[in-house]
């Protein structure tokens, strides 16, 4: 793998992927240099403490970004509750409260598609366990731009609708267990 081949990692999953995300972030190496951009479905009406719980596990700093916040390497960004989160060409986030997509706000498709247009073939897209098809179209956009696509192995998923919907649209570059995803990310020559 060529050094500098990637500029960002973007991850989608539903509320149930929390434990997988925690595991990834607790095992990701401390000097991981790329931004890790995460969009998880969350329960809108519950002040879930999601970001606090993820912070406890993560070796990297975890941020729920504000609108127009610059994206930096080595940080974990979590889409804030009740906002869509987009990546902009100038390397910032933008937030929006427009209508839910796939019954979801934040919607994984919005985050993944906008990241695909900005990072193109220098993006790693990962879809984890989840109970609806949000994220599939976003992963297709990543694949169309020749980004690297990974789905969690459906056999290891509590809910496999999300990764399976991706596999219906594209042939992912990798189908990995959570351990496999950690290994893949930690071995990147960055």
């Amino acid at each position: 793998m060529v050094k500098g081949a990637y500029k960002a990692v973007v991850i989608g999953g539903s509320a149930g992927s929390f434990s997988v995300v925690s595991k990834l972030l607790s095992q990701l190496r401390e000097d991981f240099p790329l931004p890790v951009i995460i969009c998880l479905h969350r329960l809108k009406h519950v002040r879930s403490g999601l970001v606090e719980s993820i912070r406890l596990k993560s070796k990297l700093e975890v941020i729920e970004p504000n609108d127009k916040e610059p994206i930096k390497g080595g940080k974990v960004y979590l889409a804030p509750s009740n906002y869509h989160m987009f990546i902009e060409y100038d390397g910032t986030f933008s937030l929006s409260t427009e209508e839910p997509l796939n019954h979801s706000r934040p919607s994984i498709d919005h985050t993944l598609s906008s990241a695909a247009y900005v990072y193109r073939n220098k993006l790693i897209g990962i879809v984890l366990t989840g109970a609806n098809k949000d994220g599939a179209k976003g992963m297709k956009d990543i694949a169309d731009k020749r980004g690297h696509t990974i789905i969690q192995d459906p056999k290891t998923c509590e809910m496999d609708t999300m990764p399976k919907s991706v596999a219906k649209l594209i042939k992912p570059n990798e189908v990995l267990t959570p351990e496999g995803i950690v290994k893949f990310l930690n071995q990147l020559a960055l």
Binding site: P65, D67, K68, S94, S96, E98
Partner: protein, 280 residues
């Protein structure tokens, strides 16, 4: 479609200028309008130049009108913890809800002011770019099912974080609820009290001659580019009394020059009186 060209056509033929909205969001909204209306580019251009009714609907569809009663419930006690000392000391005060959408936040705020015994001292103004939203705000008539959850959530928040000693609100004082037809209507004494006007924040002149003690502008400026945001902050700054407060959305932050002209106090930005030497 070259959306920048289209925004130019819109600007030249209508009172609306979206050219300083942030690129991706305006592009996304326009694509949605075109898809929802099943229009060709030529039809869109034709309607833009000749169909006033279409333009009003377009403005409503382009702008994002997400709002709910007591949105971000846990933030309201925090707002008032910061605002109360200032408001209590005044004989009267002015509040502006800029970008009020259908008005749910305006009425949420008025209910809290009434509970705090401050509504009589308040003059409430609300503005939105969309004529239809102005109408909806004046009517104060909403879907009940959509708001039931918000009211329940807010009750739970009050029990946990009392607002100046208030631990419960009897919402029947403020709304007529018709469950059968799924409608909730704000009572007249609140609707009559708010002055709602059509106004576009892109126009740098505010629609008021007087100043304000509090300006609510939540999740509105996120759709603007940094340049336009800065102009709006400048207008808000000018329209606020010294120590007046500006309240933004949960994940909005002041950046750039105007960051130095406000003090952040929890979720509330207060107009700063300090002299910023380097900028004068």
């Amino acid at each position: 479609m070259d959306f920048k060209h289209y925004l130019q056509v819109l600007k030249e033929n209508t009172p609306y200028d979206f050219s300083n909205y942030s690129d991706n969001s305006i592009k996304r909204r326009l694509q949605k309008v075109i898809a929802d209306n099943d229009l060709t580019i030529d039809e869109l251009l034709e309607k833009t130049q000749n169909d006033k009714g279409f333009i009003e609907r377009l403005v409503e569809d382009i702008t994002v009108n997400t709002t709910e009663l007591f949105r971000d419930p846990e933030l309201w006690p925090a707002f008032y913890e910061k605002l109360l000392p200032m408001l209590k000391g005044k004989k009267t005060f002015n509040i502006w809800h800029a970008g009020c959408s259908s008005g749910m936040e305006v009425y949420s705020n008025m209910i809290l002011l009434n509970e705090l015994g401050l509504l009589d001292k308040a003059r409430i103004f609300a503005t939105d770019i969309s004529a239809n939203m102005v109408r909806q705000c004046k009517n104060g008539n909403y879907r009940y099912g959509f708001n039931k959850r918000q009211l329940t959530d807010f009750k739970a928040v009050l029990r946990k974080y009392p607002l100046n000693g208030i631990t419960a609100i009897d919402f029947s004082k403020y709304f007529e609820i018709d469950e059968a037809s799924d409608r909730i209507t704000v009572k007249e004494f609140l609707r009559d009290k708010v002055d709602v006007r059509q106004h576009d924040l892109v126009q740098s002149n505010p629609p008021f001659y007087h100043k304000f003690d509090v300006i609510f502008c939540r999740n509105v400026l996120i759709y603007f580019n940094a340049n336009l945001q800065s102009k709006v902050y400048q207008m808000f700054h000018k329209q606020l009394y010294p120590k007046g407060a500006m309240i933004l959305g949960n994940h909005e932050s002041l950046t750039g020059f105007y960051n130095t002209k406000f003090n952040k106090n929890g979720p509330v930005y207060t107009k700063s009186n300090s002299f910023h030497f380097k900028y004068h």
